[in-house]
Amino acid sequence: MNAQPLLDVRNLGVEFETADGTVRAVTDVSLEVMTGECLAIVGESGSGKSQLFLACLGLLAANGRAVGSARLLGEELVDRTERDLTALRGTRVAMVFQDPMSTLTPHLRIGRQLTELLTDRGLLGASEARQRAVAALHSVGIPEPESRLDQYPHELSGGQRQRVAIAMALMAGPELLIADEPTTALDVTVQAQVLGVLHAARKRGLAIVMITHDLGVVAGIADRVAVMYAGRIVEMATAAALFEEPAHPYTAALLASVPRLTGTQPERLANIEGQPPRPHETAPGCRFAPRCPSVRDLCRSTEPALQGAADCRVACHAPLPQGWVR
């Protein structure tokens, strides 16, 4: 890495104290997000992809704890006081959530919610903030932004609300946007609109972390992809390399389970046999070993480390050979 990363996560772990003991949702994750790039985090439900970034923002549930290090522009985020984090949120890093129906406060007019941060921090006066809000709504493709400002969230459709939520997150000009499944709750056509908005924001230099389990979304927007399985990153590669030549068996299986529109249609959609391990099960070895088609003895005893070239790392004792074709 030549330049300083925007977000530098080192050996980050997330643990939850529960009645059944300590549950490790994320284990020893290291990754970096460069200025202006789009990193996609892919994984199935419960793989820890959301908790990883909630931990970076200090938004873990009360029984959650982050260990390790996450630096945003050189500033440590783990174990910071609420006050320090509040100063960073909104202006340096912002977040968009999955469900647009509930991320906007129901009784506040759109304009008020958009301008709240700017006027509260004293960054802009009320009328300038309002102008900025109009511009922000315009940039996310909301028609008649002027009159929308005086509407309440329930008067907007789901897609419009998600775009408003994105506009709101970008109001104070953060360098990094963490989008936690921003399209999951939306119709496909609306998904495309939202992705278009994120694309346009990237063109203006915004770095995006896209947390998703929709590989179609990943292919459309991501520069690099990190695949998470059971709280660990199992493969990290450029989007092109990952889709062309997945190195980890889990990535390959994941890609194989996506329905395709071209070629011969299989009788049944491919799936991955078995269940992901539960977070509090701690068996030695690779966590994917019980479900892995190319498992070896070594996989069951020793956990593989994430290794390889900077833009193509894999945690596997038996990575699929390059040039392997699905």
Binding site: E82, G90, M95, T103, L104, P106, E116, D120, M168
Partner: protein
């Protein structure tokens, strides 16, 4: 398209207007407020004027001598005293409710939003205050600081906020984990802003309803204090005092009990109807 948008309150008002009982109650209350303000000026007597011209000091209602509601046992005009008492009772009720509302909402929302240890300590403090016999507390207050109208607001408000705090805290606790609160946090808004802008307005429905139900409680409590002689001081009076005095004379001069009781009962009934209507109107599920 309704581009101006429809606010929570505008929406609630529209639904309240359809509730006939609540609107009748609101009209009745307004009439009583106007009567209490204008009433004392209509009579030729003043609140502490003793009418020595009467055959007996406690004279029944009559149109001829101008004592429309009769006089009390000291020969003072009951019409003036009832409306002036209504003024005091409503004033105490509204101000004490406002005091308990402000403290209760702020305390409850803060405890509920912050949660954890702060919540524990704040709510245990409320529990401790709950455990104190508040009658005792009010008596001590009045004995130490002397009797004044202001102290009554303070005392009743100071006691009344406890339940409000508990109600609001419960609501805030459930709102805290709503996605829009997380969104506000990631937006970089400080906690006090989130409480004021995103939590409190969401509990407004519950709070308004509880407040309308608190007003009658406060009026009754003030009546109780006055009954014990801890309420407002002569020559000022309140509905509670008038009822207490009337009760003492109810065999010889029943009008002294009936008139203030009728006014008090009407106010309480109206407030309960109004509170009921507001609860329905503000319930978001009715949308």
């Amino acid at each position: 398209m309704n581009s101006a948008g429809r606010g929570l309150l505008a929406d609630a008002w529209r639904r309240l207007r359809r509730n006939r009982a609540a609107i009748a109650a609101l009209a009745m209350l307004s009439a009583l407020v106007v009567a209490s303000l204008v009433g004392p000026a209509l009579s030729k007597y003043s609140i502490d004027h003793v009418d020595w011209t009467l055959a007996s000091l406690a004279s029944p209602p009559s149109l001829e001598n101008g004592h429309w509601f009769g006089t009390d046992s000291n020969g003072r005009d009951l019409f003036v005293r009832v409306w002036s008492g209504t003024q005091v009772s409503l004033l105490v009720a509204l101000l004490a409710t406002a005091v308990s509302l402000v403290i209760g909402v702020a305390w409850g929302a803060t405890a509920g939003y912050l949660g954890g240890r702060v919540d524990d300590w704040m709510m245990r403090f409320v529990d401790v205050l709950y455990a104190l016999p508040y009658m005792f507390f009010v008596i001590i207050l009045t004995v130490v600081f002397g009797r004044s109208l202001f102290l009554i607001f303070l005392a009743i408000g100071a006691v009344g906020w406890l339940t409000m705090a508990r109600i609001v805290r419960g609501q805030a606790l459930s709102l805290r984990h709503q996605p829009f609160v997380d969104a506000a946090i990631t937006l970089g808004l400080p906690a006090h802003r989130i409480i004021a802008r995103h939590i409190v307005p969401n509990v407004v429905g519950t709070v308004i309803v509880y407040a309308t139900l608190t007003v009658p409680q406060v009026i009754l409590f003030e009546s109780f204090l006055s009954f014990l002689g801890l309420g407002v001081q002569e020559p000022l009076t309140s509905l509670g005092r008038l009822v207490a005095e009337g009760a003492a004379e109810m065999e010889s001069a029943p009008w002294q009990l009936l008139v203030p009781s009728a006014v008090l009962a009407t106010i309480l009934l109206c407030l309960n109807f109004l509170g009921d209507g507001l609860r329905d109107a503000l319930d978001p599920r009715q949308r």
